[in-house]
Symmetry: C2
Subunit: 257 residues, 2 copies
């Protein structure tokens, strides 16, 4: 679904824009998606990735033909870096979450899930910048207005939780969580109002709970999942959903470990 | 499907037999299946497992309530040990592969696959004792007589390959392969004639090819698979299927790693 988001965005570009290439910033899954989408469309991709991104994600992104520019997540502002790279290369920025095309592409995951299992009472989705969650909100509420939607976020990277409670976008310092895909420091300007409108709550998982969920999904469900993608399973396994929730669906997303 | 095989067998027992419990021998997947099936039916399970069985399999089998008796795979005959344990406990032996109920249960995997993807030209199935392969032969040929069936076996544990070529059951010394689930030393008396009748060929994978297939399935398909279950993928990735095979299905079985 990350790939669908990136393709959605790049397909809106005209020929001249495509020739100048694309610039993106991402800890890894969006980076890979942009790299593949750019390759498919014959575009050059320049992607800013943090120095502490998982090696699997760095290698995969390079293997899809993108040029990777490393930055220090604790010191540098990745959006400013992306703007500079865009100025230098003339490329178009493909944002990781805060954009309608990205949101629409990511929302197809909830679409697929509900097409397969229509009678869900609730849906639990991980939240970093909020692209996946807001896309899933729109898709799921559109198909099934009575569905209850919960965001799942690391306790160590609780910007959306704090924002949700405060009723406005709150920024946190660069977070230290094993869920590297959920490290944005504040919710998106486009995504947050959607989350505010449709989500019932944002639930938090501790680092221990996330690790346990990765192990559970791997050893019992035989699926490879990265920590970020296991956060919905983590809040469920830790019994953090309201007790009156019946049948719930959980997105398991990202397998770069 | 291992569980279905074990349940199939245990459900044929009368109350008096169930009270005496069940005895099994297995490197792990059948062990877990028997342990779960016995627990469901309120039976005691005693299971002989090799000292070099993967720790995940030993722990899982014990966690399902079975008593595990360890034996040295290089020195002891596991069938003789199982007979002794059966004599001591009065329990019924639930064989790992060479039994019609086990074969029927394991064949349900091909049934499921063909129900989901009916137009397969070929089916590739791993072979240890031949329970899974012979069950799949019966199910797949019953549903789709023109389907071509291939066994996939480690080069280091090629008893079925040798038997298939010789036209009779050949025994090999205890094999040394990473695919611990495929270490039986000869094909079953019940399974081999079925394999002979329905399989087109038995294809061999080297240890390297098996390891590469495990990595491929894990990193690209995001599924946890143990070496034994990756052998069909290994022969495919190593281009060992006949070139005129069109759409092939591969069983990916067992995820104890």
């Amino acid at each position: 679904f990350k790939l669908r988001g990136a393709l959605n965005k790049l397909l809106t570009l005209d020929t001249a824009q495509r020739e100048r290439g694309v610039v993106a910033f991402s800890s890894g899954n969006h980076a890979q998606a942009v790299a593949i989408a750019a390759r498919e469309l014959g575009m050059k991709a320049t992607i800013a990735m943090p120095t502490d991104a998982p090696r699997a994600k760095l290698e995969a992104t390079r293997s899809y033909g993108a040029e990777v520019v490393l930055y220090d997540r604790m010191k540098e502002d990745r959006e400013a870096l992306a703007r500079r790279l865009a100025d230098e290369t003339g490329g178009v920025i493909c944002p990781p979450f805060d954009h309608e095309w990205i949101i629409a592409g990511q929302g197809t995951s909830a679409l697929e899930l509900l097409e397969e299992v229509p009678d869900l009472d609730a849906l639990v989705v991980c939240v970093g910048g909020g692209g996946l969650l807001s896309g899933c909100c729109i898709a799921a509420k559109g198909l099934r207005p009575e569905i209850r939607i919960f965001g799942a976020e690391p306790e160590q990277a609780n910007d959306t939780y704090l924002s949700f409670k405060a009723g406005r976008r709150v920024e946190i310092p660069p977070p230290d969580t094993i869920a590297d895909g959920l490290r944005p420091t504040k919710p998106g300007a486009v995504t947050f109002p959607i989350v505010q409108k449709y989500a019932e709550d944002v639930l938090l998982a501790t680092e221990d709970e996330i690790v346990q969920a990765v192990t559970f999904v791997q050893s019992r469900m035989k699926m490879v999942v990265e920590p970020s993608g296991a956060v919905p399973a983590a809040v469920a396994l830790a019994h953090k959903l309201p007790r009156d929730v019946g049948r719930a669906g959980f997105l398991v997303s990202g397998g770069n470990v």
